[in-house]
């Protein structure tokens, strides 16, 4: 079956909102590439109404930082981790006004975190422009202990919290920004299929 997973958000790509009073652009690692591509097609003056919040993860972090800065956004913030980036985003959203357009680009867990912050302040997820760049790694919630395991690239994997061996179910929660992990050998303990690197 080739149908998309219906609970998983789609990430159709960034496009410039010419009417926004503030373009709040949150990106991580390779997601900076999506912002640079956006710049190539954005109308004049777009970045003078933009704030870029960049989480400089990955090997190309500093190169991207220079390129993003050269877009001359009204505000440019560089933060060292997803946690600090989300803390800053929370603060910016708390005082954001009508006419703010939110953009998110990077890995799926990163976009998921941005959407969680948006949800918390009542922004409709469908109004956020998103683009998936970089690793296909996933954040997984263990359905048994509820612990979140970050940076999962293979299935099955070991829950970082309770230690059960989980397979990744094709089901996504926007509220948690995570896929669901379910015990793979619940019926016959120890009977575990080979590990597949599904989300490199």
């Amino acid at each position: 079956m080739t149908e998309p997973m219906l609970s998983r958000p789609r990430y159709p790509g960034l496009s410039a909102d010419p009417h926004a009073k503030l373009n709040l652009i949150v990106c991580e690692g390779e997601g900076a590439g999506a912002v640079l591509d956006l710049a190539a097609k954005a109308p004049d003056g777009f970045f003078s109404r933009a704030a870029i919040l960049f989480c400089a993860t990955g090997a190309s972090g500093s190169t991207y930082q220079t390129k993003l800065e050269s877009l001359q956004p009204a505000n440019f913030w560089v933060l060292p981790s997803i946690a600090t980036a989300m803390f800053r985003l929370k603060g910016v959203l708390a005082t954001a006004t009508m006419g703010t357009r939110l953009y998110a680009a990077g890995t799926e867990p990163f976009i998921g975190s941005v959407l969680q912050e948006a949800l918390a302040v009542g922004i409709d997820f469908k109004s956020v422009f998103t683009e998936h760049r970089g690793s296909a790694k996933r954040r997984i919630q263990c359905v048994h202990c509820k612990g979140l395991t970050e940076d999962v690239t293979a299935s099955p994997f070991t829950c970082a919290h309770c230690g059960l061996t989980l397979f990744v179910r094709d089901h996504y929660s926007r509220r948690l920004g995570a896929f669901q992990g379910v015990c793979v050998d619940a019926e016959v303990p120890g009977e575990v299929p080979p590990v597949e690197e599904l989300y490199p």
Binding site: M1, E3, M5, L6, S7, R8, Q141, V143, H144, K146, L164, R169, D170, H171, Y172, S173, R174, R175, L176, Q180, V182, C183, A186, E187, V188, P189
Partner: protein, 346 residues
Amino acid sequence: MGLMFKDETYRGDFTFYNSPEAIRHFPFPFHEDKYMYAVNIEPHAPGPKGSAYEFPIDVDEHYVADMKDRAIVLAEDPLRCQSLPHMITAEWDLVELLMTSMSEAYPEHFTLTRNGDAWHWINRPLGIDDEFTFGDTSTLRYPPMEYITRQCQGDFCLLDQRDGDLWMDSGMVTSQADWSLDFDIGMSFKEWHAPVPLAHEVGIFDRALKFLLAMQIGRPVRRLNWTMTINPRLDTSPENYHKWGTDRTTVTPENVGDKVHLRVELQALWRLPRSNAIVFSIRGYLIKMREVATIPKWSRRLHRVLKTLPPELAAYKGLTRYQQMTIDWLAKHDDGAPTTPGVWPE
């Protein structure tokens, strides 16, 4: 009315069983000798006396045991009951629906007295006698949905309606067939149904959603769903799958009759008056193969349904490990005679 509430368990020693009356009360789901998904929604109209459809909210001999099992689940995992803050009006709507339905159908067991917002609720089987102010959460020992669903059989979800969609924003879910409220809370109709195979392609959920969005007050509807469960276990949650999953490997040709259960969900939906939300109730009924075999039409038909079930559905319902053994056991109760249309015993 002669309801005798049984002292029985859904875990540990698994003493649950159905009396002959409870067997005839069982909502057998197959109206023909094969099964495939259908929207199969019909009005939730009163059914024959003694059937699970006699009253809008069905209370049966398992009531007290069901409520004890729910209390055990909640003590271990309080997240089985969750409600987003905007659902409080719908929660009170649910209190009204359940208290009025139960007290009208079973006056010997439940009494509701209303004097404006001053309500008095008596639940004799559970020994509850509470006065409270309708609409004032501080006057109940639990939030409204939790309070009343600790006293009503079946799982309950409250669906908010907005943006042309339904949202799973509230629920009491302690006896589910492999879905997690904690994971699904906040999802839209198609999102929470995402893991169901086959049904999306044939447009089941498009049609069902369209129908539900147009639901009106006073016109509840219902449908049946089914799966199978090893041992009479109500809490077949994904949360505890690592604890009950091994049950599925314990079936042998000798114990099929007692271990393998048909599990039917009577799903009923009501539009709520104040909140415009929809109640989605999922009442699970269990019946052992040995009990099914006391109704010859049912054992013939279940045998034929299981034999012709599409493999994807068998896998989704988790039957694969014991499906053939169950078919073989039921074959002894199928003489090949034709069955009459409809679900009722001959």
